[in-house]
């Protein structure tokens, strides 16, 4: 029984963390129409920033390279720094790339996320390379395993809720209107006096900060991070989640993540393998995800919870 509950808690925590990534993509793609395939990269930046800052300092030799980084910063410091670092990288990358047309931006961002992963593999002094950074502290821990898991889940859930509310505020604000205008027709939006580049940058950086937070939460959830965890597969799972859930709708983004990551990716993790066909079940899982995406695009292209038009009434 306890095993089952902790299994459910771990799924719920993973879904909540990934939901933050889907919210990030929703700001970039769902609101603003930025064709962005770099989410995994900003996820990695958040995870590594937080991991390096919160690790206790040490003098370890890793593959003959002295790894002495580690600052013992408290968890919330790492969390904020993760958001800031991801946002800063997005800003610097945004300067040359955000003037590009949609498909070029897509290529640039996927390239960027791979570069970030390779930096994590190769800069061993900073990241300990493919060994990864281990023994990351988890806040509110030191009780029973179950309670630790529960507290961490509640923390992640609270952060998800806050970020969801901020996203909703932005969506319903004049700022959200400009972002949607850019998505619908950036030429018209510019002709109406909006500096497009500034708003594209804002959406890009804002989404990066969200992904950075998710990265930090991921690092302290799993307790260790390695570069191969941040492959572009994550980016594409997030894209499928958003598409199934409803692009442009934050509730849809979270529901899509629950369906895809919760039910398909995680809940089926421990399905028994079939004797002699070890790879059959994992492969079937990917096929089901693909099938789901195709069915969704064919029969419900607007997603499970479609975007709602903002109704503006007189506020008295």
């Amino acid at each position: 029984m306890e095993g089952f509950i902790s299994f459910l808690l771990s799924i719920a925590t993973i879904v909540a963390i990934y939901s933050i990534l889907t919210l990030a993509l929703n700001i970039r793609w769902g609101y603003t129409g930025l064709l962005d395939f770099g989410i995994a990269g900003f996820f990695a930046i958040g995870a590594y920033t937080s991991a390096i800052l919160t690790s206790p300092s040490s003098e370890e030799l890793v593959f003959g390279v002295r790894h002495s980084l580690g600052f013992g910063v408290p968890f919330f410091g790492g969390l904020l720094a993760a958001a800031a670092a991801a946002a800063l990288v997005a800003y610097l990358i945004g300067i040359p790339t955000l003037r590009l047309r949609g498909d070029y931006l897509a290529i640039m961002t996927i390239g960027l996320s791979e570069i970030i992963r390779y930096v994590a593999v190769n800069e061993k002094w900073l990241t300990r390379g493919s060994q990864g950074i281990r023994n990351l502290p988890r806040p509110f821990s030191g009780h029973s395993n179950l309670l630790d898991a529960l507290f961490y889940f509640l923390l992640v859930l609270a952060i998800l809720l806050i970020l969801y509310l901020i996203s909703q505020r932005v969506y319903n604000s004049p700022l959200g209107r400009v972002l949607k205008g850019i998505r619908e027709d950036e030429t018209v939006t510019e002709a109406l006096g909006k500096k497009i580049f500034k708003f594209r940058m804002l959406a890009f950086v804002f989404g990066a900060a969200y992904a950075g937070v998710a990265g930090s939460l991921w690092a302290h959830y799993s307790g260790s991070i390695m570069p191969h965890e941040f492959v572009p597969d994550i980016t594409f799972l997030i894209w499928v989640s958003l598409t199934i859930g409803g692009s442009g709708n934050n509730k849809g983004a979270i529901l899509g993540t629950l369906v895809l990551i919760g039910f398909l990716q995680q809940a089926t993790r421990f399905l028994p393998t079939i004797e002699g066909y070890t790879y059959l079940v994992p492969a079937l899982r990917l096929m089901v995800i693909g099938l789901l995406l195709i069915l969704c695009l064919r029969f419900r292209p607007q997603g499970l919870i479609p975007e709602k038009a903002v109704r503006m009434e007189k506020e008295s």
């Binding site: 932005v170 109406l192 006096g193």
Partner: protein
Amino acid sequence: MTSLLEAKEVVKDFGGLRAVDHCSIAVGKGAICGLIGPNGAGKTTLFNLLAGFYKPTAGAIFFKDHQIDGLESYEICLLGLVRTFQIARELKNMTVLENMLLAPKDQYGEQLWHAIMKSQKVRDREKENLDQALQILEIVGLAHLKHELATNLSGGQRKMLEVARALMTEPEMLLLDEPTSGATFEETRKLMAYIEALRKERGLTFLIVEHKMEVIMNLCDRIFVMNNGQKLAEGTPREVQQNPQVIEAYLGA
């Protein structure tokens, strides 16, 4: 009368093609001017130059004593010169009201912090803009469609929305590219009356590209005729109608 908008010897080449050839026009404040000419004469290219969508190959453009060639289109809009499009470009998946409320300038709520906090200042401004939007929608006859997605409007309604949305930027001058194409007779008459009223009550200036001669001839004080990228003639509607060169350009030799 000094002119509000002035293009001096403007040239635009696309590769080997000269779309606009040493064209000069001047529009005085409070004027309603027409720009006519056969298809391919360069009218829309000239519009794109004036609105900052293209940079001229040669020549200069002035608006309110600012040299505006070389400025981005959003900067030109913020100076008070706004354009509409020949083929209506409504923001499809946004409601009519959202289309309208996008346009006003200096909205506090466009800054991230204000957007998240939704302060009183943001709400007050939003209410002002909403009142103004509803007033304009009432005049152009779209008020009953305010919550409709723009993609569901008819051709004529979309053209009305173009003009209405442009007005929300509080411009001093509007460049209207075939504002009545696709509009019904009734819509056309309504729009013509509204343009007259805007000039009279708010002193707005207009430059209008239009193929419907009854619109141009009744509305405009002054007409520029273009042909093959050049300005062929200029004058009052009466003068232009009697100009043999204009007749030849339209009817062929």
